[in-house]
Structures are given as structure tokens and as C-alpha cells.
């Protein structure tokens, strides 16, 4: 690990140049060596999932549906499901044949022959046959079958033929229902047999097409935009005013600074719950205060009307993040030399003019950086709204992250949820590109 920088150096003068380039090389490789662990982790845990989300978004992926719980691009058969059903179906059919007579018997025998045909077709493939026998053996002795062993790829024709035959079988048995002894057993086994075929659930960009023509998605985007624009703008204006006012020496600075940090430091979920208490329609003190100053007609409007809920969410966000914004801007203000203001005052510039001509231009990059971070934070807002309103009432505060979460975890529709989360990602990427264009490369350069 330690680069050897003190080589045995018998001919110092001739070797000097060589050592220097060696040193450079070792510095470079040490650099790559040191950043490697972090880069690998970031790649695996942050970058790969984004691509994977995009991949999932092109599938009809539903966690609560065993046939669709994974992304499949090709046809395959689950031999475990198949062998759990096929032999029993055949046996049951045998029994029914023994009991039946005439036309029913003939029909049942025909069904059995068709099923045997697809079974032999499955076993025709030598590789599949090996897997088939292994699974069969394990099931006989009641051993667990691993997923890798259970699932075998099929070619499309065999799979389609299999599916068609099994579906037909189920229909044919249904028609014979009245003549059978245990019709429900036979139908049950036959329809479970069709579950053993896994069809590809690749659907391309269908989720995106559906979402882009879905009113709920656009409503969520517009809610997110309204929330982001109003809250970030309010935070910037109030934060800047506070920063300018407290940019001076005064008694109790430390206390004020600590006060500023507390809303930022407590978990958003906890502060959201706190606000829920303060906004409560019956017992909330803030709701009562808003009612008595005439901001709202009734206390309950705050969380149960659409506009009230949006206002409540924005107000809580402004309370939590304005102090943080003020802190960032204050740090920027402190880098502006006071001599500039003194010179301007001597030249007779008014306070307002000083603000426009000195403060704003010199604070530009601080403002942009603060705005960038805040805009992105606000756009992906989740905790605050999830706890405070849950997206309600009537989806009036449902942001795009909340919608994606609901689709994924309440409806267990991971394909569509992933499509929504990719949409969030694209929006965030566009917003950052716009800001970075304004900021230029300032953000990354050494000085």
C-alpha cells in the first residue's frame, strides 16, 4: 500500500528525472486507489438503482402477483408449480374417467391425451428434461426447490402452445362440470397449471404513455411545482431579509444562531407531526390564531380544504427551512467587505441602491447555490406531506414523490411506480441543469 518513494539511489543525477515521473505516477495511482471504494459504493447503491428503476418501469411489475413479481423478458416455465399440479391433475382425470361413461369419458380421455402431449413436448428438450427430473425428485422427498432450479426458459412456440392447451382444457372441463364427480378439484388443478407458464411482462414505454395522459400525474406535478415555487420564493425573500438584519454584532448572537438551527435539526417527520397538532381543526392553537386574524373562516379549513392544506404544508416548510436559508445567505453576506458600503455611503448611495448594486451582485452565487439546493429539496418533498396531510384532502397536496410511493407500496405496482420515480428524476435533472447553467463551473472549481 505504501508507495516506496525512497528507492535505492546509486546514481542520483541520472535517476532524478525517472524518479520524478515515477512519483507523479504513484501519486496518480494512489489517487485512483483512494477514491475507488467511494466510487464503487456510489455506483452500486446510487447510480445502478436509477438505471434499474428505468428498467423496471418498462415492465408490468406487481409485487403481490406471483406471476408478475419479477421482470421477465422471455417465456419460461416454473417447474415446481407445474409438477405440483400436473401429476395430480392426471390422477384426478383417471379417477373421473373410471366413473364416467359415454361421451364424457371420450372427452376426458381426449383432454388427457392433449395434456400428455404438452408434457412430452416439455421433456423433449434435453436440458429442460434434466431440470424437470431434478425438481420432480426433490418434490417427491419434500425438499425445497430453489428458484433457479424451478424456473426454466422455454421457446415462445412451446410456451404459447402450452398456454393455449391448458386454457382450452380448463374450458373443456368447465363444460363437463355437470357430469363430473369432483368438478372443482379438476378445474382448480387445471387453472393452477396455467400459472406455471411465465409470460414476459415487458411493456415498453406503456407506463409513461399512460402516466403522461393521466390527470392524477399532472395534478401531482402541478402540486409539486406550486409547493416548490411558493415555498422556495418565500424562504428566499424572508431568509434574505433576516440575514441582512442580523448581519451585525449584537448581544446574544449564539442564542439566535442556535434558535435558527433547531428547526433544521429535528426530523421533518417529527416537525410535520408537531404542525399537525398545531393545525388541528378542534384543538390546534395555530388554527385558532389563523381563524381569529381572519386568514381562514373556520379552524377546520386548514387541513380539510384544498387551499388550506396547501397553505398549511407550505407554511410548515417555510418555518422549517427559512432559518437555514438565512444562515447560508448570512455566510455569503459576511464575505462582502464593509469598505464597499462605506465607499457607497460617501458617494451618497441610498440603502436601497447599496442593496441593489452591492449586496445582490456579490451575493449572486450564494443565492443561486442556496436556491439550487432548496429547489431540489422542495421538489422531492415527501416526509412533510406524508405525515401532515398524506396527500389529501382529495389529492390536493399529493406531490409526485407521494404519488410514486403510493403506487409502489400501497398498490404494489412497482412498474408504474418506477416510471413515476423516473419522471421525478428527470424533472430534478432538468432543474439542476438550468441552475448549473447559471452557476457555471464555479461550484466545482478549486477556488
Amino acid at each position: 500500500m505504501k508507495p516506496n518513494l525512497m528507492p535505492s539511489n546509486p546514481k542520483p543525477i541520472e535517476a532524478k528525472k525517472k524518479t520524478k515521473s515515477k512519483k507523479k505516477l504513484s501519486e496518480r495511482s494512489l489517487g485512483y486507489f483512494l477514491i475507488a471504494p467511494a466510487m464503487i459504493l456510489i455506483f452500486i447503491i446510487a447510480i445502478w438503482p436509477v438505471f434499474q428503476s428505468f428498467y423496471y418501469s418498462m415492465f408490468d411489475l406487481r409485487l403481490n402477483n406471483p406471476v408478475k413479481s419479477e421482470a421477465h423478458t422471455s417465456y419460461s416455465v416454473n417447474l415446481q408449480t407445474y409438477l405440483d399440479n400436473y401429476p395430480f391433475l392426471m390422477n384426478t382425470l383417471d379417477e373421473e374417467i373410471g366413473e364416467a361413461s359415454g361421451k364424457t369419458k371420450e372427452e376426458l380421455e381426449a383432454i388427457q391425451a392433449d395434456l400428455e402431449k404438452i408434457d412430452s413436448e416439455l421433456q423433449k428438450d434435453s436440458e429442460l428434461k434434466v431440470q424437470y427430473d431434478q425438481v420432480d425428485e426433490r418434490l417427491m422427498v419434500m425438499k425445497p426447490v430453489s428458484e433457479d432450479l424451478a424456473v426454466a426458459e422455454l421457446n415462445k412456440e412451446v410456451a404459447l402452445n402450452f398456454e393455449k392447451t391448458v386454457d382450452e382444457t380448463t374450458d373443456r372441463i368447465r363444460e363437463l362440470k355437470g357430469d363430473l364427480k369432483n368438478p372443482n378439484d379438476v378445474i382448480g388443478l387445471s387453472s393452477s397449471l396455467s400459472d406455471s407458464i411465465i409470460t414476459p411482462n415487458f411493456i415498453g414505454l406503456k407506463h409513461y404513455k399512460e402516466n403522461l395522459s393521466d390527470g392524477r400525474m399532472w395534478k401531482a406535478i402541478s402540486n409539486t411545482t406550486v409547493f416548490t415555487v411558493i415555498s422556495v420564493f418565500a424562504e428566499l425573500v424572508i431568509g434574505l431579509a433576516i440575514a441582512i438584519l442580523i448581519n451585525k454584532a449584537f448581544f446574544g448572537r449564539g442564542l439566535v444562531r442556535a434558535t435558527i438551527l433547531i428547526p433544521w435539526a429535528i426530523p421533518t417527520a417529527v416537525s410535520a407531526f408537531m404542525w399537525k397538532y398545531l393545525y388541528d381543526g378542534q384543538n390546534g392553537i395555530v388554527a385558532k390564531a389563523f381563524e381569529s386574524i381572519g386568514l381562514f373562516d373556520r379552524m377546520t379549513d386548514l387541513l380539510t380544504s384544498s387551499n388550506g392544506a396547501m397553505f398549511s404544508v407550505i407554511f410548515a416548510d417555510v418555518w422549517k427551512t427559512t432559518p437555514y436559508m438565512a444562515l447560508l445567505l448570512l455566510a455569503g453576506l459576511q464575505t462582502i467587505p464593509s469598505s464597499l458600503y462605506e465607499a457607497a455611503a460617501i458617494d451618497g448611495a441610498s440603502k436601497w441602491k447599496q442593496f441593489l448594486k452591492i449586496t445582490l451582485p456579490l451575493l449572486k452565487s450564494s443565492i443561486l447555490v442556496a436556491l439550487l439546493f432548496r429547489t431540489l429539496d422542495a421538489f422531492r418533498v415527501f416526509d412533510l406531506i406524508y405525515v401532515l396531510t398524506g396527500g389529501g384532502p382529495a389529492n390536493s397536496t399529493e406531490t409526485i414523490s407521494i404519488l410514486a410511493y403510493k403506487v409502489m407500496f400501497a398498490q404494489t405496482n412497482f412498474g408504474e411506480g418506477s416510471a413515476l420515480s423516473v419522471i421525478v428524476f428527470i424533472c430534478v435533472a432538468i432543474i439542476s441543469m438550468i441552475y448549473i447553467k447559471f452557476l457555471g463551473r464555479d461550484l466545482l472549481n478549486d477556488k
Binding site: 508507495p3 496518480r28 447503491i45 447510480i47 412497482f414 463551473r441
Partner: protein, 275 residues
């Protein structure tokens, strides 16, 4: 600019502090009221004559709140230690060594720190579920890398850059190897920065909600923010317990903020301000 603070200024300041602190003070006052006084007319009175600690007792007796606190502590501590360790190597290399692609890497780190969590959650959830890591500490520590590692690298790079290069040159001239320079010269000077980074990373891990909500659904592995958010009963919200739990979570953070405010401010503003 007027640098003198007049009496109006202090009035404004007091209003500002009051506005920021009011929710906490109200919650604190509510948490020591008997439950009956949280409803009806008495709900709007700030003080009670029948001060009680029954809400605090109930939080610990009727909810696995201590367990939540412990889970949060374990997850946040391990995340912080390992993220800051891995990040310190990368940040040192980016800040002090010469190699190609540094700007690109820093740009990548910054972009990753802006990734919306929702965009990574579906694959992470499915992988953790298949590995059997949902409802475990590791199930949160692994995904927390997505935001703690970029944050740590970003902060540490700015701290490492502030250490004067002359010291490194001097060590080189004295014949120290790169690793020796790192351990003997850079690291001791960087310790305050590393500590600041650790505080900020710890707070961000402690406050995380979305991963904790989706990955650890079992009470035995829930973290504090999720635990409190789930206090909701089926028909009513137990406000007494909620306010008490909020106070319990806030007090240590207030102490931490008071103790480390200078460091936290320097961490929050570094990188955001060009000096």
C-alpha cells in the same frame, strides 16, 4: 451598512426567535398537561395547574419508544462512521492529489447527492427484500450510503482544501511519504472538519424517513421519525404521547445544536459560499 444594533432591532430579534421557537414551546407546554386538557377550551391555555408526567410515562410504557431510539442510534452511528471513513480517503485524494478526472468525479458526487430518494427506492427495496435484509439494521445502513457518502465527500473536500499546501510541501521536502504526510500532517489538521462532517451526516441519517418507512416496517427495527409518525391510532391521534415523544426527540438535538453550533454552521455553509 448600519452595524449598530438599536432597540427596534432587539424587538425584531425577539419576535423572530419567538416565531421560530413557538411550536416547540407550545408542544412542551402541551406535553405536561393532563390528556383531558388537550381538548376543548382548555386546549388553548398555555399553562396547566395540574402538571403531570403521565404522557412521558405512557410513551415509554405503551410504545416501544426506547427501542426506536436505540434503532436510530445504532443505524445512524454505524452509517456515520463508515461513510465518513470511506469519504475521507476519497476527499483527500480529490482535494490534495493530482490526477485526471477530479472535476468530473466531484460533479458526479454532487449530482448523486441531489438524486431524489424515490428514484432509487424500487430496486433497492427489491434487492434488500430478496437478500432478506428488510427489517434489519443493515437494511437501512446500506441505502443510507446514497446520501451520506456524497454529503461526506462534498464537505470533507472543502475542509481538506483549506489546509495550507505549504505544510505538505515541507513534509515532502523532509522526506515523508504520501501516506506519512496524510497521517502525520493532514489528518491532525483535518480532525475538526471530519468531526463537523460526522455531526451533519449523523443528523441526516437520524432524520431520514422514506427508506426507514418502506424497508423497516417491523416495530423491532423502526427508527424514531417513523415510529413517531406511526403513533397515529385507528380513530384518534394520541396527542399527549405525540407531544411528549416530540419533546424527548428534540431535547438531545437542542443540546447537540447548542454544543456544536459553530461547527454545524461552518459545515452547512462550507461549499455553499465562495470565499
Amino acid at each position: 451598512m448600519n452595524k449598530k444594533a438599536g432597540p427596534m432591532f432587539y424587538v425584531f430579534l425577539a419576535l423572530f426567535v419567538f416565531f421560530v421557537m413557538f411550536p416547540f414551546l407550545w408542544v412542551l407546554a402541551s406535553s405536561i398537561k393532563p390528556v383531558a386538557e388537550l381538548f376543548g377550551d382548555r386546549a388553548f391555555k398555555p399553562f396547566t395547574d395540574n402538571m403531570t408526567l403521565e404522557n412521558y410515562e405512557s410513551v415509554f410504557l405503551n410504545y416501544p419508544f426506547l427501542k426506536y431510539l436505540w434503532n436510530s442510534l445504532v443505524v445512524s452511528t454505524i452509517t456515520t462512521v463508515y461513510a465518513v471513513l470511506v469519504a475521507s480517503f476519497a476527499a483527500y485524494a480529490i482535494a490534495r492529489l493530482k490526477f485526471k478526472g477530479k472535476t468530473f468525479i466531484l460533479g458526479l458526487v454532487l449530482s448523486v447527492s441531489m438524486f431524489p430518494q424515490i428514484a432509487t427506492i424500487s430496486p433497492i427495496y427489491i434487492v434488500l427484500k430478496n437478500l432478506g435484509l428488510t427489517n434489519s439494521y443493515l437494511g437501512l445502513i446500506i441505502p443510507y450510503t446514497t446520501f451520506t457518502l456524497p454529503l461526506s465527500i462534498w464537505l470533507l473536500v472543502t475542509f481538506f482544501r483549506k489546509i495550507p499546501f505549504d505544510l505538505e510541501e515541507a513534509a515532502k521536502i523532509d522526506g515523508a511519504s504520501l501516506m506519512q504526510t496524510y497521517w502525520r500532517v493532514i489528518l491532525p489538521l483535518a480532525i475538526p472538519g471530519i468531526f463537523t462532517t460526522a455531526i451533519l451526516v449523523f443528523i441526516s441519517a437520524w432524520n431520514e424517513f422514506l427508506f426507514a418507512l418502506t424497508i423497516n416496517t417491523d416495530d423491532a427495527y423502526k427508527t424514531v421519525p417513523v415510529g413517531i409518525a406511526m403513533f397515529e391510532g385507528q380513530f384518534t391521534i394520541p396527542w399527549g404521547e405525540v407531544t411528549a415523544a416530540t419533546v424527548i426527540v428534540t431535547v438531545p438535538l437542542v443540546i447537540m445544536v447548542l454544543a456544536f453550533q459553530r461547527k454545524i454552521v461552518s459545515g452547512l455553509t462550507s461549499g455553499a459560499v465562495k470565499e
